[in-house]
């Protein structure tokens, strides 16, 4: 039998381990020409690893790779590119200070030695029209939005003659409308006979775009189904391994006094370009304000200004009525602000310190943990024991280094520390990013509980579903400005998507509260 003769790609029994985890355990996966085959799985399921194997970045410990009926051994991405495989990585692989054409020309065989960018620019124009992927070859990559950068990545693969295109979580950086555009492009590619591997952990979009769906869990394939023969609930069960409830219970919002008032805030990025251009917003105690927006529109800078990590140029920040514009991080924390940072490991914990030491970090200098300059270990131990139990932190012991915990448990540790002592304001940046379903549910419950206890919560997230589910009001950030604020109950996904793309909402609902 001519094995794998029909398949554009066949991966057979691929095993790949990293120290401590088997990221892929005898995974078999195939792609037909002219189909979109989705690879669905929670974070950490092993999807990216499998694709890195197919793209020649990782060498599998075991297993076979077949491309168009031939067994191949990939030593580097160059081999994969030569076989017509292209990959758009989850974190784009672009040289930010360089022009679009230079990025595409990099390592592209067949370009002239002199002035390659010029020739490539011409080819790019042609290709981008054919597939409906508009880009300007002369722009610098760092000036482009995430959506535009993604188009550059796709064109990079197409210009190299990719017959098989791997897209790793392509929609995570797009507005819903941009995602719709992308799906149209995929349709066009399908019609031209390209095969597409579409990676995602979002059920709806996988169902709408894919012909077949392969579900992975903890490094293994759970099964492959045709999109028209399955539904959301069945996929969720395969992905998580148990029934999933899609709705959290949430009590009605009872907003109290203002926890945070921001007026006309301006700040710059590290590069010196404007990041915030006149942000005004308010968060009341007992409510969650969701801040939606595509990454890189000022979210990071806003959170940094509010937590005292970045100096604003202009504007006012008041917390519980106290003016804390330009106050230090410590003063802001002492005023009752909890910070759940975006970069959990870099800013949220001291990786080498133990779980219990990390738990008291913000209070280590005060009684009951500190007396006459010395730590009172008994008090520390008692506090840590309670926190570990209450927040269900899975750790071998209180004295295990925090860096050895899984992502979800590190996040619970941070929440346990930040929420102890009932803060009036919680600033949570992407609190469930990259966590599995179990941990995500738990963390959302913790945030809702805090809201009921009377804290105001500013929830920054790229996950629209999460914002729709948790927030009472939703503000949308675009290029450092707020495009509008809507009540969560009245918002539609489409409306928010339009604001994420820069359309201003004229009537500011709920703003006066």
């Amino acid at each position: 039998m001519a094995e794998g003769a029909r398949e554009a790609v066949l991966l057979r029994n691929i095993t790949k381990s990293f120290p401590g985890v088997v990221a892929n355990d005898r995974v078999t996966f195939d792609l037909q020409p002219g189909e979109v085959h989705a690879l669905l799985g929670e974070n950490g399921a092993g999807k990216t690893t499998l694709m890195n194997v197919l793209y020649g970045l990782y060498r599998p410990d075991e297993g076979e790779i077949w491309v168009r009926g031939r067994r191949v051994h990939l030593r580097s991405p160059r081999d994969a590119i030569d076989l017509g495989i292209g990959m758009v990585h989850q974190h784009f692989k672009l040289v930010a200070p360089h022009g679009v054409a230079e990025n595409v020309a990099l390592g592209l065989s067949g370009t002239p030695f002199w002035a390659p960018a010029r020739t490539v620019g011409r080819q790019l124009k042609e290709l981008s029209e054919r597939y409906g992927l508009p880009v300007d070859p002369d722009r610098r990559v760092w000036e482009l939005s995430a959506g535009e950068q993604q188009r550059v990545e796709i064109l990079k693969a197409l210009i190299r003659g990719a017959q098989v295109l791997i897209l790793d979580e392509p929609t995570s950086v797009l507005t819903p409308q941009e995602a719709g555009e992308l799906f149209k492009v995929l349709g066009r590619m399908k019609a031209e006979g390209h095969g597409v591997i579409f990676i995602s952990h979002k059920l709806d979009e996988v169902l709408s775009v894919a012909d077949r769906i392969t579900v992975m869990r903890r490094g293994r394939v759970v099964g492959t189904v045709r999109a028209e023969e399955t539904d959301k609930a069945a996929l969720a069960r395969m992905m998580v391994g148990r029934e999933v409830v899609f709705r959290l219970t949430k009590k009605a919002c009872q907003p109290g006094e203002a926890a945070l008032v921001v007026e006309d805030l301006h700040a710059r990025t590290d590069r010196g370009t404007p990041a915030l251009r006149g942000i005004s917003l308010a968060v009341c105690r007992g409510e969650i304000l969701g801040l939606a927006g595509v990454a890189g529109n000022g979210q990071r800078e806003l959170v940094e200004v509010l937590t005292g990590l970045r100096r604003p140029e202009r504007g006012r920040v008041a917390i519980l009525g106290q003016d804390l514009t330009r106050a230090s991080a410590r003063r802001i924390a002492d005023a009752g602000v909890a910070h759940v940072p975006e970069e959990r490991i870099r800013l949220g914990i001291v990786p080498g310190l133990s779980v219990e030491e990390n738990l008291i970090l913000k209070k280590h200098h005060r009684p009951p943990f500190c007396r006459a300059g010395g730590l009172r270990l008994a008090a520390v131990r008692q506090f840590a024991g309670r926190a570990i139990e209450e927040y269900r932190i899975m750790t071998p012991g209180p004295r295990t280094p925090a860096k050895l915990l899984s992502g979800g448990n590190i996040q619970k540790l941070i929440l346990a520390r930040e929420l102890s002592g009932n803060p009036a304001l919680v600033i949570a940046a992407h609190p469930t990013y990259g966590l599995d379903v179990g941990a995500t549910e738990q963390i959302r419950e913790i945030l809702l509980r805090q809201r009921e206890a009377g804290a105001g919560i500013l929830l920054v997230s790229e996950d629209l579903e999460e914002i729709m589910e948790l927030a009472d009001r939703i503000a949308v950030l675009f290029r450092g400005e707020i495009m509008g604020t809507v009540l969560a109950g009245e918002a539609t996904l489409e409306e928010i998507g339009l604001m994420m793309a820069g359309e201003r909402r004229t009537v500011a609902v709920g703003e006066e509260r």
């Binding site: 793209y55 970045l57 991405p77 692989k93 040289v95 200070p97 230079e102 990099l106 030695f113 010196g272």
Partner: protein, 309 residues
Amino acid sequence: MDWTSWLVGTVSRALAFGVPLLWGTLGEIYAERSGVVNLGVEGMMILGAYAGFAVAQTLGHPGWGLLAAAGVGALAALWHAFLTVTLRANQYVSGLALTLFGLGLAGLLGRGWEGRPLRAPLGAVAVPVLSDVPVLGPMLFRDQTILTYLGLLLAVVLWVVLFRTRWGIAIRSVGESPATADSLGISVARVRYLCVALGGVLAGVGGGYLSVAYRPAWTEGMTAGMGWIVIALTIFSAWDPLQAIWGAFFFGALYHLSFRLQAYVSPELLKMMPYAFAILVLAASGFGRARWRARAPGALGVPYVRGER
């Protein structure tokens, strides 16, 4: 001494003094553009100076001397590349070690050669026609060796290669974002080895110029901290070969002035001048963050490991 001849002498000497700085800086720009800091410039220059002198003296021809200087510089640089690219050692530590090693080794080997003038130095080339132009002729075109003109030509060529060719895109990409280059099938290690080696060749020639052309003799420690000026100049020129020209000759002038003004100002103070300026330049580049830092290669100083998260 009348005013014109003073100016002619100063500019012509400044050019001559700027040559080793120019060669060294051009090399370091390439190494750093590929993402590798090499603090061993001083070491590579002094090894080049020693090898250049010893070989030119032995074989009786300056050309062989300069070739040897280039070769020795390349060898030293390859050692740095092996440590930092292949073994992923700390680039700063490895570079410092190279400088200390080079100074020590050259000092040791050079003992017997000290104080003897080179029997076959590299002479000046008077450019036909141009050298007869009054003032400008003697200033720019009479007392320079071929290495001055080659250095200028090299700066232009290296600029074109860096910004207008396939190779240049690859080199700059490897220095900005090695993971991107790797994902497109470019060998990060190969590009870095080649750029670091080129840096060594140019630093070696820069050192060789000192002992074979500028002051044709061997003196221990004759590079006198030029390697460090080169490091500062690399930043000063914003990693741009054309801008390196101005920087190199400006510092050449400072060096020269520190000799010329000795009669009037305390020599210790004057000797400090180039270094004080280098410190000023580095401090300024730290202040104007948006302007200067933004242009430093993104992956400068960071070893590349595929798949590291």
